[in-house]
Point group: C2
Chain length 364, copies 2
């Protein structure tokens, strides 16, 4: 990999604290989605995320923000990440506090830094295109006081994503953001697609630490006040105690809602690198290789008769034999077996509640 001198100031923050409950029972509170090798490639989504960013950001500049309960899995899956580059949130507080902490932390290490923030549990199929896009994004936010988000060229009227309406093009492929719209209904999503003005919000952001701190102070002063109180502690041995004492006082709010939807220097880089947030079993199915009967197997050992359109997951070494199944999720997670029509996967929320009501939290 060829890194330019400016790369020393480029950082990456991998957000790795999610619980991924929509992929239950494969994703569990003690091993969420980002730690799973969904596709049987030998690398988890988190590891794939790390691999993807390596050509652009020096390994010592890659940080992981996660929850205390997941730290052992992060260490195990990413032994390359030094201990001091793992930021441990004492509480779950959505993305804005997570990003704010990372920004203050990096600013203390390098006031000239720029950073990319990325979820750890998404899928990107075209790593090369991703790399080019991220380089262009860094170049842009290093030259402008800009908050940049990556917008994905939409391929279907998906109702589970947020949409970004683009405005004026300021550089090739880089536009001013006009509006954000969270999860439209099907009709509106179709209108969005038809206009050609809307892109999916991938939740991947780039900015300089200067720009994001300034924006947080302006648009989320309650959040900024928490971190400004410890401004001298970041990058010192006192940082951890400060975070443990104060992070819980942060409002639980997304960076989109806290900053992006309010700021006037928000830009979108329109990209097309084969992205899915893998937010649903359906999206996992769409992104999986399928056989001639449209069954997706992951690495499950399956014999399927008269069965079409299913997605199978099973522990290694397990044989799954099915007959007459259509368009179902069959997810065997060892101690839990889920069988559910793909079209009914929103029902998983109800299932989780029912499992809790039965006092069987060990299955969650």
């Amino acid at each position: 990999m060829i890194l330019t001198p400016s790369d020393t100031h480029r950082y990456c923050v991998i957000m790795c604290g999610g619980i991924g409950s929509r992929f239950w029972p494969y994703s569990r509170t003690d091993k969420p989605k980002q730690f799973l090798d969904f596709f049987g490639t030998g690398r988890s989504l988190l590891q794939m995320c790390y691999d993807r960013i390596l050509p652009v950001v020096r390994p010592e500049n890659i940080l992981v923000v996660t929850n205390r309960r997941y730290v052992d899995m992060v260490r195990e899956q990413l032994p390359e990440i030094a201990e001091e580059r793992i930021l441990l949130e004492p509480d779950r507080r959505n993305t804005a506090p997570c990003i704010a902490w990372a920004a203050y932390h990096i600013a203390a290490l390098d006031p000239e830094a720029s950073m990319i923030v990325t979820p750890s549990d998404h899928l990107i199929t075209r790593d090369n295109v991703f790399e080019q896009c991220v380089r262009r994004g860094f170049d842009f936010v290093e030259r402008h006081d800009a908050l940049l988000t990556l917008g994905i060229n939409p391929t279907r009227p998906e109702t589970g994503y947020g949409y970004i309406q683009i405005g004026k093009e300021v550089e090739p492929g880089l536009m001013k953001v006009k509006t954000f719209t969270e999860k439209p209904d099907k009709e509106l999503a179709q209108v969005f697609i038809d206009t050609g003005e809307f892109f999916w919000n991938a939740g991947i952001f780039l900015w300089s630490v200067k720009s994001i701190r300034q924006a947080i102070r302006r648009y989320a002063p309650d959040l900024a006040s928490v971190f400004d109180a410890g401004i001298d502690d970041f990058g010192t041995p006192r940082e951890r105690a400060f975070i443990d004492a104060n992070f819980g006082g942060c409002p639980s709010i997304s960076i989109d809602f806290a900053v992006m939807e309010k700021a006037d220097n928000v830009y979108v880089e329109c990209v097309n690198f084969g992205w899915s947030d893998l937010g649903t079993w359906g999206s996992l199915y769409e992104n999986s290789r399928k056989d001639s009967n449209d069954n997706a197997y992951g690495h499950a050992n399956v014999i399927a008769y008269n069965s079409t359109g299913n997605i199978f997951l099973a522990p290694e070494g397990k044989l799954v034999v099915v007959n007459g199944m259509h368009d179902c999720i069959v997810a065997d997670a060892g101690d839990v077996l889920l069988i559910c029509p793909k079209s009914d996967e929103q029902h998983i929320k109800v299932m989780l509640t029912d499992v809790q009501l039965r006092n069987e939290d060990r299955y969650l």
Copy 2:
């Protein structure tokens, strides 16, 4: 339990060498059906069979015939059975050689003996009625040179069973057998039921050792010649070596075909004690307790939504969550998961062949 003096001559032979492949993947070549606790009662079918016969036959007069590979399971499940009461078949040779050996063995111990022969993998729900029927059967075969089979009052035109046509009643509930018919088609089975003259062949037999030896010598001379060659070895330390050397030379044939269908002293005791051979998943389903949605759970921990008519089996501690499943077998056997419509269970034979073709015998 009250045993009469004549009980000292009463023996029971439990046939326990079957492989039960129709219940795959729950039943496996290394742990067939008879060793499984299908109903979650804490007792396997074999143990239930033993419990059922105890009020009628002294424990020291109960023998188990099984295959060498299952001897450890027999010892574990029936520690009450003395080592010398477990007859180990060196080869699988259907029921006639098994029964012939047991008859020669018992005759050497007690020439005045009578015996009941029973499969170990059937279900009988009314133990008390069974007990009375067996007593009456013993009384009958001790007074007559008779080969007695138990005939079950049929409740549906089952095509998977053999049927016995009854002739003249010789004592109350005891008839001469007119014909045997193996597995009729649906129409014929219905005709059988309508006439009232046909009973299901339960494969449970009673006779004196004198009568059965005589019948084997007359109707299955090739079989008799094998055992007569070792007549002085039975009941001695030489028996085992004799069997190991000669059992493989027996023809593989059922007792029905070898003797019962040929002999002229065959009688049937018509009984009604809630019997099933549990030969199919469907029959297990029929015999299982079901909830208001007609789902049968065994001891599986299941949460079912919008699901009816299913039968579930799963390892202890596993949670099964299903949505929108109807009339299916869901059998999780740990390393194999089978999902199959109940109406399609004959397809399991094809599955077993396919698993073999994949060289995955460990799943059989």
